[in-house]
């Protein structure tokens, strides 16, 4: 079962995301900022970090750039209502991005696509 770390400073956004993902069979943990996320990366050992962009302190893009350096095997997806594409961070050109508000089925499909080799159930079908 793939493990996803959701990072969002708005607890209700974090809960809504994790609710959606849990129902789809993912194991989910929630961090409310980048600092907490960095700690949980070691404890929870997620396969993928799904992070909001605009947060107090370190932004999501900065956090994910750091994840890429420290945990090269962990997948990353940025979620933000601020842009049409991921904001670029120096040295991190291939950051993937999803818009907020998200579309549940599309987001799940996207995550499954990214995680397919990791997905314990090997589910590829897309629920729309």
């Amino acid at each position: 079962m793939a493990r996803i770390l959701v990072v969002d400073d708005d607890p209700l956004v974090g809960k809504a995301l994790s609710r959606l993902l849990r129902r789809e069979g993912f194991e989910v943990a929630i961090a409310s900022d980048a600092a907490q996320a960095l700690v949980m990366l070691d404890g929870f050992t997620p396969d993928l970090v799904l992070s909001d962009h605009r947060m107090p302190g370190m932004t999501g893009a900065e956090l994910l750039a750091l994840v890429r350096r420290r945990h090269p095997g962990v997948l990353r997806l940025l979620i933000s209502g601020d842009a049409e594409r991921a904001p670029s961070v120096a040295g991190d050109p291939d950051l993937e991005f999803v818009a907020k508000p998200w579309d549940g089925p599309a987001l799940v499909a996207r995550l499954r696509g990214m995680l397919s080799p990791y997905d314990a159930f090997g589910e590829r079908e897309v629920t729309l």
């Binding site: 995301l17 209502g81 670029s88 508000p101």
Partner: protein, 462 residues
């Protein structure tokens, strides 16, 4: 006075002066008649009197002439006025005359393009002013030759058989008309400059208002976006899960079939308004990429065709344009908004045409969307770009279309001009720099930075 001079005076834009001195020789005395006539803007001044002494009569004439001549308009002129009672004996002069003849003092600065000559005796008089062709005193009759190239005016002598001293006048119509023209042109110039300044000021105020609204919109959009994201996610999850249940108690059926889909539709509408607000607030920090403006026009027209459904003709006139750097999705959104507005303005008119034009103009590329629809009045033009400004009925327009256009144009370092008048159609012209002068570096701070850019709004034909 003969009718001729009178008619000349009338023609003189209301300004003419005349003065004369005459020798009235009675049986046992000689007196000097002085007469002044002035017509200024319909007001006629007349001064007549008899004096024993020539000097007194002359001065009275001069004073009379000086009074209307102190008119400000005339003051600007330096033509000469002087009164001579004998050769080289001047009793009065003005500044222009002083300059001309060399006197240092005068009776006032009130100058005029008037020439006063006092002639005593007879002979040929050559006036010191080039305004005159010449005057001849002959046989007791003063003939002022060819005033302004017109027919000579004959003046009858005042004193019986006596060569009268005389002078007069000049029809100032041309000079005055010219001065008036200059004054009017000057005023026109000032007026134009004032209007231009006013327009710049208005544009700056509008711009500032939009900038403030942009900040507000960005803040609101962000604040609404987060809650909407989980509200939407939760409601749609609920909907999907209820729908997936094999059996459902009857009251919940309505929720699955109607209430939740309607709720989700409402959520989508809010989201699309928020997305528009965000585009207006330009805090889209996606990076710029090269794009072909004409391709974006085609894309926008394709979508617009579906929306206007043949209610008007969509014509394109696309010139060769260089590749631009920007956010093509925003650009096509901007074009779509302009085209849809134009199509709405044509609603219910036959022969409605929306034309989209692209051109290269120096180091700019322009794209214009023109319609021959209802047009706009001044008050609409003034508020066009404000978010939520609409003249459309509730439910038909949100008033965000042009706010988004404004945001996109500003984001691309461009300008937008609007030309429109009621009944005369509208033309929105967007100018984008070929080389964007500012490519806002993607940054992580929430509020978009605003730059003053020019919005120009004109009445059509102005």
């Amino acid at each position: 006075m003969s009718p001729k001079p009178a008619s000349r005076i009338e023609a003189a834009s209301g300004q003419a002066w005349a003065g004369c001195l005459g020798r009235a020789a009675g049986s046992n005395s000689v007196s000097w008649l002085h007469l002044g006539f002035a017509a200024i803007d319909g007001l006629i001044l007349l001064q007549v009197g008899l004096e024993r002494r020539l000097e007194a009569a002359a001065i009275l004439t001069a004073v009379f002439l000086a009074t209307p001549l102190s008119n400000e308009l005339i003051n600007r002129s330096l033509a000469s006025i002087g009164i001579e009672i004998a050769e080289a004996v001047r009793v009065a002069w003005n500044l222009g005359d002083a300059l001309l003849v060399g006197h240092l003092t005068g009776w006032g600065m009130g100058a005029g393009a008037y020439l006063l000559l006092l002639i005593v005796g007879s002979g040929v008089l050559l006036t010191p002013s080039s305004l005159w062709r010449g005057a001849v005193l002959w046989g007791g009759t003063l003939v002022v030759a060819a005033l302004d190239g017109g027919t000579p005016i004959r003046w009858l002598p005042l004193g019986a058989g006596t060569a009268a001293a005389f002078f007069l006048i000049r029809d100032q119509s041309k000079v005055i008309a010219q001065m008036l023209d200059e004054a009017v042109a000057g005023r026109g110039e000032i007026e134009r400059a004032r209007r231009e300044l006013g327009a710049i000021h208005d544009a700056a105020v509008r711009q500032e208002k939009l900038a403030a609204l942009g900040m507000l919109a960005a803040g609101i959009a962000h604040e609404i976006n987060n809650p909407m994201s989980f509200v939407g996610s939760n409601v749609s999850l609920l909907h999907r899960e209820l729908k997936a249940l094999p059996t459902l108690p009857e009251p919940l059926r309505e929720w699955v079939d109607e209430i939740l889909p309607e709720t989700l539709d409402g959520i989508r509408r809010v989201n699309s308004i928020v997305a528009d607000l965000r585009r207006f607030a330009r805090n889209d920090r996606a990076e710029m990429e090269p794009f072909d403006l004409n391709e974006e026009v085609e894309a926008a027209l394709r979508i617009a065709r579906l929306q206007v459904k043949g209610s008007c003709a969509l014509v394109r006139d696309l010139g060769p344009v260089p590749q631009l750097l920007g956010r093509p999705r925003q650009i096509s959104q901007m074009l779509l908004n302009l085209i849809v507005n134009a199509a709405h303005a044509l609603h219910g008119r036959d022969r409605g045409i929306v034309t989209v034009i692209t051109r290269r103009a120096g180091d700019e590329v322009l794209v214009a969307v023109r319609d021959n629809g209802v047009g706009m009045d001044e008050s609409t033009r003034a508020r066009l770009f404000e978010p939520f400004f609409t003249t459309k009925p509730v439910g038909e327009g949100t008033g965000l279309g042009l706010a988004v256009v404004h945001g996109v144009v500003a984001d691309h370092g461009g300008r937008i001009e609007v030309e429109s008048a009621p009944g005369a159609g509208s033309c929105f012209t967007v100018r984008l720099p070929c080389q964007p002068t500012h490519v806002p570096a993607p940054e992580s701070r929430p509020t978009g930075t605003w730059r003053l850019d020019a919005i120009q709004i004109r009445a059509a034909g102005a």
